[in-house]
């Protein structure tokens, strides 16, 4: 019995890795087409065209005093013809609002706000005396989703970009994300971008000037994870209109679609996944043609956890959010009504993201047991384990191949370090993340976000600037 179970688990893991491999191949094809279009589609015509839709950038901020001013300055420098920036101070207990006042010379305005989505009360609204399209909303704390909803209520443009205060967007990020919208405005309702870890890179005046790799292994592992997720899978899902997750750190939405769907969920640990699923469901229930796409060359940078403790909390929160969403959208599973989302993407997502950690954890427990007790042929078991691990490394390597198109980690040592950690990941690092995810299943139901200590993107500046 143990032997059968062990082989079943190993077979599951191998099939999983082969599935990831298929996704990577699909993503390769999709990326080639996407990049050609980006290169030759004359995207920069949008900068001077009156048909380019204007965008409201919504930034929820909770205790972001350290880097909020830099974040706003960075957003103000985006290359896009018409934007407004809506900063939502979600009841911060630090000096976030004061920092904004100081940096942008705010004055209070009385602004009637349309309550398209219910939120916590707005305490005050501010504009800046500087020639910047910035609005600051001060409200009662209600969580990230609630803050974004308040920003949506205040915003005036038909498209909203929801991003975090600690994210750095590339200059053309918004332009690239809006390209599919401009090309197919009647159908595209949401666009996801490519989020990359900022750790190890150099930032100057709110822009990434030099891409580098971090020193710590835990940060390197996350770089690989982001590569696999954002480059190895999403382009493929986007191609078949089955993208299930628009990252909360960088998501562009058609405002009417979000309002119709009810906005972001308050107090939900996986509000980005939940909203994307809800957009799919709402559109498919209404039998309305739509697209949710991913743009791989729309890049934003974020600081990832640098310690195991913070990473643990993050991964537990993510997995709890996933569990919540699975429960809420179980009715979409294997329903033809929901097309490729219900019949393919959602079941596979459940298998890859929810079931896989459980199975993998069982494998970590059972394999040593069967080896020690002799219930299975040790040679065979070891070889299968090697096979599974090798497949995993191959998938990571393929993701690195895909990344090479962007030429970011281009220095000679980068490739060697990344490959080393692609191997190293499987020794006592991956096992931890699996355990955290399994542990999150024993959840008491109390949803918390917690704090992630940040160095602040402003502190990643050159020494010359810091002087």
């Amino acid at each position: 019995m143990l032997e059968i179970l062990t082989y079943t688990i190993l077979a599951y893991v191998i099939v999983l890795e082969l599935g990831v491999l298929l996704l990577a191949v699909g993503s390769w094809v999709s990326l080639r087409r996407e990049q050609f279009t980006a290169l030759h589609g004359r995207m920069f015509d949008m900068l001077s065209s009156v048909t380019t839709p204007p965008v409201s950038i919504i930034v929820p901020a909770y205790n972001e005093g350290l880097g909020i001013a830099d974040a706003v300055r960075s957003l103000a420098m985006l290359r896009y013809p018409r934007v407004e920036i809506v900063i939502v101070n979600d009841g911060s207990t630090d000096d976030t609002l004061q920092k904004l006042h100081t940096a942008f010379n705010l004055f209070q305005v009385d602004m009637p706000v349309r309550q398209m989505i219910n939120t916590e009360p707005i305490v005050a609204t501010y504009r800046t005396k500087l020639p910047l399209p910035v609005v600051v909303v001060d409200k009662r704390n209600g969580g990230k989703g609630d803050a974004i909803n308040a920003g949506i209520n205040v915003s005036k443009y038909p498209y909203v970009l929801a991003t975090d205060a600690d994210i750095i967007l590339d200059d053309e990020c918004l332009l690239r994300m809006m390209r599919p919208v401009a090309e197919d405005r009647s159908r595209v309702i949401a666009v996801g971008g490519n989020v990359r870890p900022l750790n190890g890179s150099r930032v100057r005046r709110g822009k990434v000037t030099k891409v580098g790799l971090p020193a710590r292994g835990i940060e390197m592992i996350q770089i690989l994870e982001y590569l696999r997720s954002f480059l190895g899978a999403r382009p493929c899902w986007s191609r078949i209109n089955a993208l299930l997750l628009i990252s909360g750190a960088l998501g562009l939405f058609q405002k009417a679609a979000v309002v119709e769907a009810g906005g972001f969920r308050r107090g939900h640990l996986g509000e980005d996944l939940e909203l994307t699923m809800r957009l799919h469901r709402t559109a498919r229930d209404a039998k309305r043609p739509y697209r949710i796409v991913y743009v791989p060359d729309a890049v934003a940078w974020t600081e990832v956890p640098a310690t195991y403790e913070v990473l643990r909390k993050q991964r537990i929160r993510w997995h709890r959010g996933l569990t919540q969403v699975l429960r809420e959208y179980a009715s979409m599973m294997l329903r033809p009504r929901y097309g490729v989302v219900g019949m393919l993407a959602w079941p596979l997502f459940t298998l890859f993201e929810f079931v896989a950690p459980i199975v993998e954890f069982l494998g970590y427990v059972l394999v040593p047991v069967v080896l020690l007790t002799g219930h299975a042929d040790p040679t065979r078991v070891v070889l299968l384990v090697v096979f599974a691990v090798a497949l995993g490394v191959i998938n990571t390597t393929l993701a690195m191949f895909l990344d090479e198109r962007f030429g970011l980690y281009s220095r000679p040592g980068h490739g060697i370090r990344l490959l080393w950690f692609a191997l190293r990941e499987h020794v006592l690092i991956r096992q931890r993340t699996v355990w955290w995810r399994v542990r999150s299943l024993f959840w008491n139901g109390h949803a918390v976000w917690g704090d992630m200590p940040r160095t602040g993107v402003g502190r990643l500046t050159d020494d010359a600037d810091a002087a």
Binding site: H40, D45, S49, V50, T51, P53, R82, F107, Q108, V109, D110, P112, V113, R114, Q115, M116, E120, P121, I122, V123, A124, T125, Y126, R127, T128, K129, L130, P131, P133, D138, Y157, P158, A182, D184, R185, K255, A256, A257, V259, T379, R380, L383, L384, V386, F387, A390, V393, I394, T397, M400, F401, E404, G407, Y409, S410, R411, P412, G415, I416, L419
Partner: protein, 574 residues
Amino acid sequence: MTSPALAAVSTLAVMVALAVLLLVYKSVNSWRRRFEAVSRASYIAVFGELTARGSYPQEILSAWTMDSVFRDALVDFMRLLDGIERDRLLRVARDLGIVDAAVVALNKSRRKKVRIRAALMLYELADPNTVGPLMHALNDQDSRVRVNASAALARIGEPDLVGAILSSVDRENEWDAARTMDHLVSLGAAAVDGLITYLGDLTERMPKYCRLALQSLGEIGDFKAEPTLLHALQSAEPEIRLVAAGALQSAGTQRCVEPLIAAMTDHDGRVRARSAKSLGAHFDDRAVQPLYEGLHDREWWVRKNSAASLVRLPSGVAALQKALRAHDLFARDAAREQLMLLGIPAGASAPSRADGPDGSANWIEDQLQALDTGAAADDPEDGAAWIEDQLRALDTGAAADDPEDGPDWIEDQLQALDAGGVTTGPGKPAVQDRDAAVIDRPVEPAAPVAPGEGRDAVPVMGSSEVPSDEVGAPAGAGAELFAGEGAAAEAVDLETVPDRPGQAAQPEARPGRTHQLPAAADQLEETHEAEEVRVELLGETPVAVTKHKPSVLDMVLESHGFGDGQIRKDRRAS
């Protein structure tokens, strides 16, 4: 070797091979990028010399034409040039065969990527000698080839080509068609006749292409297009009317004022909004009254655009000042915002008791405000008694309005006073008024005003239809609504602007005031800021109640026997 062993070994081998391949790939790419960067820099330096001197060593440059970096650098450098310098580089490109190579690739290659690159190259070069091949490319199977070819033709700039370019537009998707039209705009007045011919009577083309053509006419701004635009303003398609209204802002004369005024009664809010905006550009006082009425429109953008346009009209400021006393909170706010941008204190029109009791809700508000600020001519310390006198007078039917409706009418006024906001229909949220003394008749619980119904209905905030700034606006048309919105967001020094008569300017941030429209009564909480907010339910209609400071009204209500909430409960009971 057993199967697991075979699988493991072969997989390991693949893994190692891939890793090695990746490292080699990275190294090659890194080297290639450096080389290209250096080459590019060298080429651009040569081009600089070349354009300055006007001559070049052909044998050297001929060797470089094999390098794709050379061609790309040439194109990039040409973008920066104009006039004779650009012509010099174009001559070089011809002499080196770059143009001919692109033409051959465009017309002969079977690979669409090659044809797309070639069309893009010819667009950048914009060589008048390539008109023929580009015209041929307008029939290409791939839309990107066609769009780049038509863009190239537009860039060449010969008026005779306009017809050919427009003939290809109907095959494209909206975005590609829009980009083609954008390039036609660059031809300016030379493209107007072609666009007018293309539009015809607006029935021959799909609405989305008509919209784009009308928009282009607006961007060109040639008055010759006015009759076409006026005709389009009568179209059955709301999106065409919308774009036509926008185009008349720049391409219309005084003759279009009356049609635009008529368009302000369009049942489509977007058309009304855009017409309001366009009227502001014609500086014609005939528009004052319709724009003033537009301040009370149920659509957000109509109100905003009306206020912004009134500011530009000779008699518009007076209308805005009048609007400061309007029933509609949003009309007042729109007016206030524009007046403040002009530097006119928004509270400059202090109420005067000499106005007398005209029975209007605004009069009561004026008196309360006057009491509140101590500016009343009568003894302000006798405030409560005085207001009581006024109410009693009204109560006995001495009011000018609805004398036979005395008690009900006064109840309405008190209710509105107490509510401090406009009720916007059953189930709709109410508005909290900043000045806290909004007098509006509560909306009768009737069917919500449906889109398309007359504007006599009470302005409804947040109607069930999607607001005009949302996805309903078509590409370009929606953008038109927002064109110039940045102006409204320009910084204004409000530090010296008092927000109430008699009140000193507030250099520091005022205590927070909530202006949120509550979706549900239970979501508002009492604040500890300058004004308390209490929400009570009027049946199913949540109403934001604002308390004044000092609470004169409370004293009055209590003295009249209207306890807290009592008036509303009694009314509901009846």
